[in-house]
């Protein structure tokens, strides 16, 4: 008996992959019940050897519908919306099961989901909120890294926006629906979509994915600070940290920089008609004066560096070799970046050092550019002098020819040799 069983093992092993009657039958059908069978060719579960029955229960090997889709074999059919998270969690929250396929993959998505706004509302009976399949799709679930996956970095904003930018759908919740529109104008989306920088933040970078919830005001700077470390450090030491944490509608960095529509910052945020500082600091107060001072320094340094850059480009266009000075200019630009960073301490003294260093470099590179232009002038002068001597010599030779040939000498009337 045992020998027979032993013989069965290789037979079983070598008989994989088994038939998938779910796919076979449903492919032959029409309409809504055919769709899943067509979609699964792109599914990551199917690619790993799983089948419809592994989620929906039933027997994939049986031709008999009552067996294949019978309760005896555990068939559960299509889960209701409220049941979807548990349905997926059957496997995805099971570490022993997941270890068989992807040992490194997290298994806490369901736990996180339960803490999220989506999870809480679903548990309370709101079927309008997002469940697993709304973001990950169903039957054609692709890996996150797959370029066509709706949860791939480049597609996340669209996926979240499907609901969160839909005014009608969001009306009952009283939350804005302009986030996607604003995010599309941001430097982060620009870096992600045009710059090809896949590390740039999208919705889930700040809000989390399964446990999605906006960060609370006091932790905004920590969230931004996960990349913008030094800005966070300076900001948290400043008086603004305490004041902005109590602010409504976001708080932290978002008070000045906005949350979704984060644009390239400039000194226009410090002074001028659209100044952010002016929203709290009245004219001639210490704060307003500090803002004005720092804006002035940054603008001056920026203009000086630009001027040096222009002079060097000019020299380059004339054919002068200025690559070393242009390289040095990059150091100057770094000082400008350091100055703009130092602004976040909101104390002008902190900015003074990088400004001075930057101005020194701007000066040095300007002088290099001017020297190059002077060299260009020297060359042209040298050319003019040389051309003058040549012209004199040419004139002299011409006169000599005229003198020699004045009486027709040098010409013969004899025929050509051949």
């Amino acid at each position: 008996m045992r020998a027979l069983l032993l013989l069965l093992v290789p037979a079983l092993l070598f008989s994989q992959p088994a038939r998938d009657t779910c796919v076979e039958c449903h492919t032959a059908m029409d309409g809504a019940i055919q769709r899943p069978a067509l979609l699964i060719k792109d599914d990551v579960h199917i690619a790993n050897g799983l089948s419809c029955a592994d989620c929906h229960g039933g027997d994939r090997g049986s031709d008999d519908m009552s067996v294949a889709m019978g309760k005896a074999k555990g068939f559960v059919g299509k889960p209701s919306r409220a049941e979807i998270p548990q349905f997926c969690a059957k496997c995805h929250s099971n570490p022993d099961y997941m270890r068989r396929y992807r040992p490194q993959q997290r298994v806490d998505q369901f736990e996180l989901y339960k803490t999220s706004v989506h999870g809480k509302r679903l548990a309370a009976g709101d079927q309008n909120v997002a469940t697993c399949v709304d973001c990950h799709s169903v039957h054609d679930i692709r890996a996150v890294k797959d370029g066509k996956s709706p949860v791939n970095a480049l597609h996340i904003p669209d996926t979240c926006g499907r609901c969160h930018a839909d005014a009608k759908r969001m009306a009952q919740y009283g939350i804005p629906t302009n986030q996607l529109e604003q995010y599309r104008t941001s430097v982060h989306w620009n870096a992600l979509s045009k710059g090809g920088d896949l590390s740039a933040p999208n919705c889930v970078s700040c809000h989390g994915n399964h446990g999605a919830k906006p960060p609370q005001a006091e932790s905004v700077s920590a969230v931004c600070g996960s990349c913008h470390v030094l800005f966070q450090q300076l900001y948290e030491k400043s008086p603004h940290q305490a004041i902005f944490s109590a602010a409504s509608g976001g708080g932290g960095c978002t008070v000045c920089h906005s949350n979704h529509g984060i644009h390239q910052p400039s000194t226009a945020m410090l002074v001028g008609p659209n100044a952010v500082c002016a929203q709290c600091h009245d004219k001639s107060t210490e704060g307003a004066n500090a803002a004005e001072k720092m804006a002035g320094w940054i603008d001056t340094l920026g203009a000086s560096l630009k001027h040096s850059e222009d002079v060097l480009s000019d020299a380059e266009r004339y054919g002068m070799e200025v690559s070393e000075a242009q390289g040095r200019l990059a150091d100057g630009r770094e000082n400008l970046i350091k100055a703009r960073l130092a602004m976040h301490s909101f104390q002008p003294e902190e900015m003074h050092k990088p400004i001075l260093a930057g101005m020194a470099i701007a000066d040095e590179t300007l002088r290099a550019g001017q020297a190059a232009l002077k060299e260009k002038d020297f060359r042209r002068l040298g050319l003019a002098i040389s051309a003058l001597f040549i012209a004199i010599t040419l004139a002299a030779i011409w006169l000599l020819i005229r003198r020699i040939e004045a009486n027709g000498s040098g010409y013969l009337d004899t025929p050509a040799p051949k």
Partner: protein, 353 residues
């Protein structure tokens, strides 16, 4: 004093033969006399190349690692390095242009007739050598444009029927343009081509002295005036050469030759990469030919065509004269105009497209 030295040298070197020749050398004076200058201009510009090239040799390093940087060193650190290098690059282009003008002037004045067939043949080979100088020298700065232009050129050469791949391998020093290519091109440019050119130029110039200046067939020989070479024509030629120097200096100072960016073989070829202007007509012709003409590959047909034309052109003294030895002026002038127009038009098209 000078007389004493001259006599001493003459006694040992036999200079008097040369002095006799110089004293008797004449140049025909007629409507096409101005074209006689172009041989001298070509020679002068070649001389400029030898001088500036030798000077550049003092600083240039023919390796992938240092080639570009050594050229940049010449352009930025060496005193007047910018001048020597820019003159070398500009003069190369002017030299090839002058060589073409010289050739066409010989065609249209029918100076290829007996007894000047060997002068013509050596001249055609010299033209080819000048193009070889241009092609090999272009790679030496090892910048993006020159690297990819050489790649394209080597690929085209490689598609010559039968012998193409072997030629390309020998040229490149391998299957790709790389460090061996640079070393080979350097050897070609500073030693092989100069040696062959020196020999052929010597032959060419000696033949010109021996056979004298040719008079165009439409001028009856009995009616042509002669101008003494020394001092009359010679002084004029010195003026032309001096003028050429002034032009070179102006070009070098006002339009310095660019350095470009260091070649990066792993980068994609710069957009619109194409060979230098003197190869552009052929390059564009090859682009126009469809990929297959009947069962023959288009590029093969094009290259074969160029080969046929080159050989036929070298044999001009054979088919360009009739049995009596007179020039077939209408045929040759027609062929010359056709070739000149083709070259000009296709070069322009190669630039614009």
């Amino acid at each position: 004093m000078t007389a004493k030295i001259t006599h001493w040298l003459d006694d040992r070197l036999g200079l008097s033969a040369i002095r006799e020749l110089a004293a008797h050398k004449t140049v025909p004076v007629h409507s096409a006399t101005r074209w006689y200058y172009f041989g001298g201009i070509t020679l002068f510009l070649f001389g400029i190349q030898v001088v500036t090239g030798t000077l550049l040799l003092f600083y240039y390093r023919p390796t992938v690692a240092e080639g570009f940087d050594s050229v940049r060193f010449i352009m930025t650190r060496v005193e007047f390095g910018w001048l020597i290098r820019s003159i070398h690059s500009w003069s190369a282009n002017l030299l090839i242009f002058a060589a073409f003008v010289h050739m066409f002037s010989v065609v249209f004045t029918h100076a290829y007739r007996r007894p000047r067939e060997l002068t013509w043949a050596s001249g055609i080979i010299l033209l080819g050598l000048m193009l070889g100088f241009g092609f090999s020298g272009y790679l030496l700065p090892w910048n993006q444009i020159s690297y990819f232009a050489t790649k394209v050129g080597a690929d085209v050469a490689g598609s010559t029927p039968v012998i193409g791949p072997a030629i390309a391998r020998i040229l490149r020093g391998g299957n790709d343009v790389g460090a061996p290519t640079l070393t080979r091109f350097f050897a070609l440019h500073v030693m092989v081509l100069p040696m062959i050119t020196a020999a052929l130029v010597a032959l060419h110039v000696i033949l010109v002295q021996k056979n004298g200046m040719s008079t165009p067939p439409w001028i009856p020989p009995s009616r042509v005036r002669q101008m003494k070479f020394f001092p009359n024509f010679f002084l004029r030629e010195v003026m032309v050469w001096y003028g050429a120097l002034a032009v070179l200096g102006a070009l070098a100072a006002i339009f310095p030759w660019e350095l470009g960016e260091k070649a990066d073989p792993f980068a994609s070829a710069p957009k619109g990469i194409r060979p230098e202007w003197y190869f552009l007509a052929q390059f564009y012709t090859l682009k126009l030919i469809p990929s297959h003409v009947g069962f023959i590959e288009g590029e093969l047909l094009g290259l074969a065509g160029f080969g046929v034309v080159a050989v036929a052109w070298a044999l001009l003294p054979v088919w360009g004269v009739n049995r009596a030895g007179e020039a077939r002026t209408r045929l040759v002038t027609g062929a010359g105009i056709f070739l000149a127009v083709y070259l000009v038009v296709f070069t322009i098209l190669g630039y614009v497209k």
